[in-house]
């Protein structure tokens, strides 16, 4: 009985990934076809679980720490109702904080540009629930890469690298989101500055939007304001509208050249790199020796 549930869960995961890919690729008919198959599999899964409920409770499935298994379990728990609680072991206590990758995803989604762990942590502290320890972020990219290699595209997004425009190698110290278009994830010579200005605009608009920005938010905004010409109209004061305006003004100067560089690099990346390299970058390798030595 347990095997068929396991096999069903795997099929469900696979179908979900395929649905997502079909949607991203714009293929609606294939997507609805896959969705139908997905619904059937889910129905079969519910039935199998209900049948299992009649039997004595199973041994708790060993948690081997693999991210895929964890994700499948997490999804299973979310999908089924209280029926499954007896199955998967003691219920997880209600979490007060999102897992690390969700927090990073939140911060990056606000910034809309690749960012360093320090900036991600500062944004999260200023505008979301609290600081993220930067030490935990250093291994995040590697963990995400491993998770991707184990099961490509199994998760809705991955926290991945930004690539250098010239060699398409991973940029040290930057995190980005896999669902962003390639153009946003390549870094040319002008891109660090353009992304900095974009981040300033996003943070300024957030500070204006949220009801009670704390001192951390104003401090963060101020650090951007002093480094953008015209960002702080009067010394010691910081006004989000001024910062945004000044950032846009400077960005106009760099935008065209930067967009051109990024566009060319993105096209090359899509042409030359496979899926894992497009997300996590490619590294220089020694070319194989051609021919036999004389």
């Amino acid at each position: 009985m347990a095997e068929s549930i396991g096999a069903l869960e795997e099929r469900i995961e696979l179908l979900r990934a395929q649905v997502r890919q079909a949607l991203v690729g714009g293929n609606r008919e294939r997507a609805s076809e896959l969705r139908r198959g997905l619904r059937e599999a889910e129905r079969a899964w519910h039935d199998a679980l209900a049948a299992l409920e009649q039997e004595p409770p199973e041994q708790q499935r060993p948690r081997d720490g693999r991210l895929l298994a964890g994700a499948a379990e997490g999804n299973a728990r979310a999908q089924a109702g209280s029926a499954e609680r007896g199955l998967a072991g003691p219920a997880a206590p209600p979490r007060l904080q999102l897992p690390l990758r969700e927090q990073v995803h939140q911060a990056l989604t606000l910034l809309t540009v690749p960012a360093s762990p320090r900036l991600i942590s500062a944004v999260h502290e200023a505008l979301f629930a609290g600081a993220i320890s930067t030490a935990r972020l250093t291994s995040l990219r590697r963990d995400e890469e491993r998770s991707f290699l184990v099961a490509p595209f199994a998760r809705p997004y991955y926290l991945c690298a930004a690539l250098t425009a010239d060699l398409l190698a991973p940029v040290r110290g930057l995190l980005s989101v896999s669902t962003w278009p390639m153009e946003r994830r390549v870094i040319g010579p002008l891109s660090p500055r353009v992304d900095y200005l974009t981040a300033a605009i996003q943070i300024a608009e957030s500070v204006q939007r949220i009801p009670g920005p704390g001192p951390a938010a104003w401090r963060l905004l101020w650090r951007f304001a002093v480094n953008i010409p015209g960002g702080s109209a009067q010394a010691g004061e910081v006004d989000p509208a001024t910062v945004a305006r000044a950032a846009r003004a400077e960005m106009e100067i760099h935008a065209d050249a930067d967009t051109a560089t990024r566009g060319a690099a993105a096209a090359r990346a899509r042409r030359q790199l496979g899926d894992p390299e497009q997300l996590f970058g490619s590294r220089l390798r020694a070319a194989p020796q051609a021919g036999v030595g004389a």
Partner: protein, 375 residues
């Protein structure tokens, strides 16, 4: 005939070499006559370990705290495409707003080997110097090379900035504070000499590409924290004087292979560590080996070389150990014992020291009259 590399490797022993950096080159050029230091630095020997094992540990070098703080400040200044540094450069160099291009030379496509980084540095700087549309502005962690004592040494300045139709500027980021416009004189002086080394290296690199020395400014940008906050501030420092001194001293640095020729072929400073890393070589044996290479101790060594206490102990009894000024006052007599005996008048000394003897005797008499005690 062994190659120089092989001989230096043998002298160093079975450990990986420690790199020269601008600090060691600056210190070396301030004492060019010291063969011991020249050989040890060229071989990349760990002077701290050698001194400690020979029985004269130097409580030396930067504390881990200072190193961490320096790295943190540098990271802050260079964060987000050098946002804070751009503000300072736009102010100091009048860097125009459109020039913000940033290139990171810390690794090339994930590969951090020095040859590769140096080749890429040359490529990017050459492209920039041609001042085309792709001219870069900020070069982070560039890798330069300098000939020191006949060997090439890799050097890594903090950053090089370039202004279009302008010149390259070396930028040094240090974590000692500038308070009310003043900073510790000794630290600033050290920073200036190190930056001069980088200017020299950069000029050499550009010369190899056929670009004249005027392409590199004589002014170095020093970035430090201001007052008691961590806000960075920048100042332009003129290094022309240091450049002249440096060029002269580096030319005087004897080629390392000439020095090696004077040494016994089997000389080695290897500590012969056991598998746990504890040195097994007897300390006296190591001390003898070190003494086989002549040194030139001066009190300045106390501030810049880890072997200082060893060499000072060795130089005990020589007036040179008291510093050049004192030695000149003592009329250049070489040993303290001779000075004292000449001053006491007991021994008239050799003919050529007659004048010195006279000076020293009058000094002794003055002292006796003034302090009431005999020399």
């Amino acid at each position: 005939m062994d190659s120089t590399e092989a001989r230096l490797d043998r002298i160093r022993g079975k450990v990986p070499p420690r790199n020269h950096n601008a600090r060691t080159i600056a210190a070396l050029s301030s004492n060019p006559g010291c063969a011991r230091r020249a050989i040890m630095d060229a071989a990349g020997a760990d002077k701290q370990r050698l001194a400690a094992h020979a029985g004269f540990p130097a409580g030396f070098g930067q504390s881990q705290f200072a190193i961490t703080r320096g790295n943190a400040f540098e990271a802050q200044v260079k964060a987000n495409g050098c946002a804070e540094l751009l503000r300072l450069l736009r102010d100091q160099l009048r860097l125009p707003i459109p020039e913000v291009s940033y290139d990171n030379l810390e690794e090339v496509g994930g590969d951090a080997s020095r040859e590769l980084r140096h080749a890429r540095t040359r490529h990017l700087l050459m492209r920039t110097a041609a001042s085309g549309r792709d001219a870069g502005t900020l070069f982070d962690h560039p890798l330069l090379r300098l000939e020191v004592g006949g060997r090439a040494v890799y050097l890594e300045p903090d950053l090089i900035a370039f202004r279009l139709n302008g010149r390259f500027h070396v930028v040094e980021i240090k974590s000692f504070a500038v308070i009310d416009g003043q900073a510790d004189g000794g630290k600033v002086a050290a920073a200036v000499i190190q930056s001069a080394v980088y200017v020299l290296a950069l000029r050499q690199l550009l010369a190899e590409l056929g670009i004249g020395p005027d392409a590199v400014a004589d002014e170095v940008i020093l970035v430090c924290p201001e007052n008691f906050a961590n806000q960075p501030t920048a100042a332009a420092l003129d290094v022309r004087k240091q450049l002249t001194v440096l060029r002269r001293q580096l030319a005087r640095l004897q080629r390392v292979d000439t020095l090696l020729d004077l040494l016994p072929a089997a000389l080695t400073f290897d500590l012969d560590p056991d598998p746990a890393g504890t040195p097994r070589r007897p300390a006296a044996d190591l001390a003898d080996a070190v003494r086989a290479v002549p040194a030139r101790y001066a009190p300045e060594c106390l501030a810049s070389c880890e072997m200082c206490f060893f060499c000072r102990d060795e130089a005990r009894g020589a007036t040179a150990a008291l510093g050049r000024a004192v030695r000149d006052e003592l009329c250049g007599v070489e040993h303290v014992a001779s000075v004292l005996s000449l001053a006491r008048g007991a021994d008239p000394g050799p003919g050529e020291l007659a004048e010195a003897a006279q000076v020293l005797r009058s000094a002794a008499r003055l002292r006796q009259e003034g302090l009431g005690e005999a020399v």
